[in-house]
Amino acid sequence: MRSRLLLLLLVSLPLTVLASPRGDEASARAALLARFDAALHADVAALDKLLADDLEYCGVSATCSTKAQYLDSIRSGTRKFRSLAPKVDRVTLFADSAVLTGKVYAVSIGDGTERNVDAYFLVVLAWRDGRWQMTNQGSTLLQPKPKT
């Protein structure tokens, strides 16, 4: 009887691990907002946890960075922000990932000048190691509102 129980436990253990729940919509949203906040505060340690090792980060100029390149730009101050105000419009959950779209209103600092960069974002989060990790971000400049 005891050996049967042990066998049942051994058989069911991998199933329990496989069935470990992926994060929900709120946690995906929170992970993305934490990523923006860490970028604003140049918190490289937090970004290191929030970004997947296989990150593809494509900015509004359509040039793309790896995780190492993105972290370097934050660490060195090449990528620096006065403010970052994201608004998540939609979160779609899939089996192992989440796709988030929205807008971000940013004031970036470069070469001593400030620049307003308002953009749409498309982000993919992957559920790995029990947490959401950002694996892709693409951005498109928001169309300026026509002057009335």
């Binding site: 593809e56 494509c58 793309c64 990932s97 749409y120 498309l122 992957a126 892709n136 951005s139 498109t140």
Partner: protein, 137 residues
């Protein structure tokens, strides 16, 4: 350990997604609503490089009505990645499009998201941005 069969399955999955991507570009140029109806997800969010937004219905309508006419689209797929039932493609494209009567040659970087649903790949999000113009020689 990865088996040969699993490698073959991965290759087949990537090939199927790339085929869907190429078919989608072709269907845009041909304004083929039937093919696009199959390849685009009902929840599609399409963000054009100029910041215009489309749903599946408004995107197909813009093509069939002639409001937006893709004269040519030549895409280069740079990466294909999978996250379970989701495929992410990143690439570049040279696009000639006439929009509201104005013709433009665009060089864009794009990311699109595909989901495996109902036994086929369907594009659920597209986002693009204009690449800097190549330096004059």
């Amino acid at each position: 350990m990865m088996s040969v069969a699993s490698f073959a399955k991965d290759d087949a999955r990537e090939a199927a997604l790339k085929t869907a991507e190429i078919s989608r570009f072709e269907a845009q140029v041909n304004a083929d609503a039937k093919v696009l109806g199959q390849l685009l997800d009902e929840g599609l969010e399409y963000t054009h490089s100029n910041g215009d937004l489309d749903t599946k219905a408004s995107f197909i309508d813009s093509l069939t009505s002639g409001k937006r006419d893709y004269v040519s689209s030549v895409a280069t797929i740079e990466t294909v990645r999978f996250f379970g039932d989701v495929g992410v493609i990143r690439g570049k494209a040279n696009v000639t499009v006439t929009s509201d009567g104005k013709s433009q040659d665009l060089h864009i970087g794009y990311t699109d998201i595909w989901v495996w649903k109902d036994g086929r790949w369907q594009m659920t999000a597209w986002r693009s941005a204009r690449l800097p113009a190549p330096a004059a020689k």
